[in-house]
Symmetry: C2
Subunit: 358 residues, 2 copies
């Protein structure tokens, strides 16, 4: 006996930035669009592209670099939208660990990584900085990057500015340490990528599923767009709704992660072609895809006007986001306290993108 | 491209009683048995039998009553073992809610239930007590039974003695109320079932998966048995290991749930034929399966000696467990504090079952 339910596998345990996926359920948007969605959570993020690629699960969420690498390995997966754009990603460490802003300070250190690509990225950087992969000790820690740093099992670990850094900042506060003790060596800066889009979190699907159920995929994305609009129109109410349906959200650290994730959330939920070009090139440089690789993404399942690409302001946008995030960290509050992202002229930060779409 | 990974969907978000499933991963037992397992968590427990039945996921965990009902609806699922035996299940309420040990006190109350079967069970009891289903208000609350009671949205809800009661007891302590304010009307007693085996949590699998991969199912259960043995031999270390791989376990309430779940954990991981007979009859009485229904379970995937069935001591066993649980609740510690279940003569509680197997 078959089921009409779309199975959707998150890239990580439920996290504040997954809000649109849960809100679409809680607010009845999936139902309005005539679909039923079973949201599943993994216990090993490295399972996700393989399970979706093999068709065991229909859809899910995954970072761009993994979506590209999974396709290159023969798993038929395609991105049909974006959940979160370019969250700052890098080597997260604590003041006093002996690590500095100089990448070479990682020599002799234990660096934690989630799956295999974090290690591939660091290994590639070692050559760039006159080191070898053997100059540091890579420790696969899966979903436990922050905890492994807290326990002193690793000196640093690969993580996101809006997740692992926040977890460590809150822990520092508990320890009586300033949250500014948490630092990041940004991979985009070290690798001269111009953005952290390799870590953009995408909506992905099994390709045979897309071929046989294109209307389900379109309905799913319409529901997600409604939930995203609600998130931006009423962030406080949206956060309360999310906490009601997902009790693990009810914690001080998750509230902070919600606030720090807000600026990265995709407004139009679309794949950004410029970012795909950059990350495809980066993946070729890393040797994880062949030179002939074509981006496995499409915006054809989105039925609304997409934001215009604003190539010129990309760096300015990055700086504006960084500035806003530092303010949020310093003030101890963000969108939930009414502190909204400021808009630089022509910069595609948060609200600006929405205006382009509206 | 296919995957060799077995997908395994929990019946609920990760909970302390899922320890063997996670320990088998953490201790490398799946790997030793030559299998890879992707542990997935649902966000709606009502999805589980449908998703496994449709073959979208290979295996999982589910309560006996749902496993039987899912099969009766045409989803080809089979139980191949037991994770947790007969946890006390019933209508959980707080002192002062107006509910008493008399079932009829539920009249006019709002009763929360998880999926549809809790409501079916309560509805059946209403007739028994001279009431109608319309005499109470049923509220479907999914995974949020305890929270809905805390928020006052429902007067009572269907839950487990070792999970929802513990959550409410810990909340009562925070509120300055005695934990003994948390009460339960046990469904097994009200319905004169003789055990709460309808709520035993089983290892289940998609039947076509079992037919095509019997060796994988056997290997899975061997790994689970190793993890279970480890849990009983070294409960403190096992709990530490579980917390390391699943950070949501690190909370005071989950530690208490671990201690209160310990006595229910199946030692030999086997289906109990007596319990299956009882619950099949109960399901016929509830009208959820036809009179011709045959139990969809097998112990043929287990390759060790199973505990002997001890029919005579069943009631005594229930009383012994209840006594132990009350002691654990009162002392505020259980197996982690070195307080082990006591053994009545001939009673199959905890350690006794293991002795029968060894």
């Amino acid at each position: 006996m078959s089921t009409d339910k779309i199975t959707f596998l998150l890239n990580w345990h439920a996290t504040p930035y997954h809000a649109p996926i849960f809100l679409a359920q809680a607010k009845g948007f999936y139902k309005e669009e005539g679909i039923q969605v079973a949201i599943l959570e993994p216990n090993d993020p490295s399972d996700v592209t393989e399970i979706i690629g093999s068709g065991k699960v229909d859809m899910g969420a995954k970072a761009m670099i993994h979506t590209i690498a999974g396709s290159a390995r023969g798993f038929p997966i395609e991105s049909i939208g974006t959940l979160m754009d370019e969250p700052f990603t890098g080597v997260v460490y604590l003041e006093g660990s002996g690590i500095t802003t100089d990448f070479r300070s990682l020599k002799g250190k234990k660096i934690g990584y989630v799956g295999e690509f974090g290690k591939i990225q660091i290994d590639e950087l070692t050559a760039h900085f006159g080191m070898a992969p053997s100059d540091y000790q890579a420790v696969r820690v899966g979903m436990n990057v922050s905890d492994a740093i807290k326990r002193g099992e690793i000196d640093a670990g690969i993580g996101l500015e809006n997740v692992q850094m926040v977890e460590l900042e809150e822990w520092c506060k508990e320890q009586g340490r300033p949250p500014s003790d948490v630092k990041m060596l940004r991979i985009d800066e070290l690798a001269e990528l111009g953005c952290c889009c390799f870590c953009s979190i995408l909506y992905i699907a099994n390709k045979p599923f897309l071929s046989s159920h294109p209307e389900k995929a379109r309905a799913f994305m319409r529901a997600i767009k409604k939930a995203t609009d609600y998130l931006f129109t009423s962030p406080r109410e949206a956060w309360e709704d999310y906490k009601l349906v997902k009790k693990t959200m009810t914690s001080a650290v998750n509230e902070k992660i919600f606030e720090r994730s807000f600026v990265y959330m995709s407004r139009d939920c679309a794949n950004v072609p410029r970012d795909w070009q950059k990350v495809t090139s980066y993946c070729k440089r890393l040797g994880v895809v062949p030179a002939t690789f074509k981006p496995n993404m499409s915006n054809s399942f989105l039925s609304w006007q997409l934001a215009e690409q604003d190539d010129a302001g990309a760096e300015e946008k990055q700086r504006a986001i960084q500035g806003y995030q530092m303010q949020v960290a310093k003030r101890g509050e963000g969108i939930l306290g009414g502190f909204e992202p400021e808009l630089g002229a022509g910069v595609g930060v948060g609200v600006k993108r929405a205006e382009l779409v509206a």
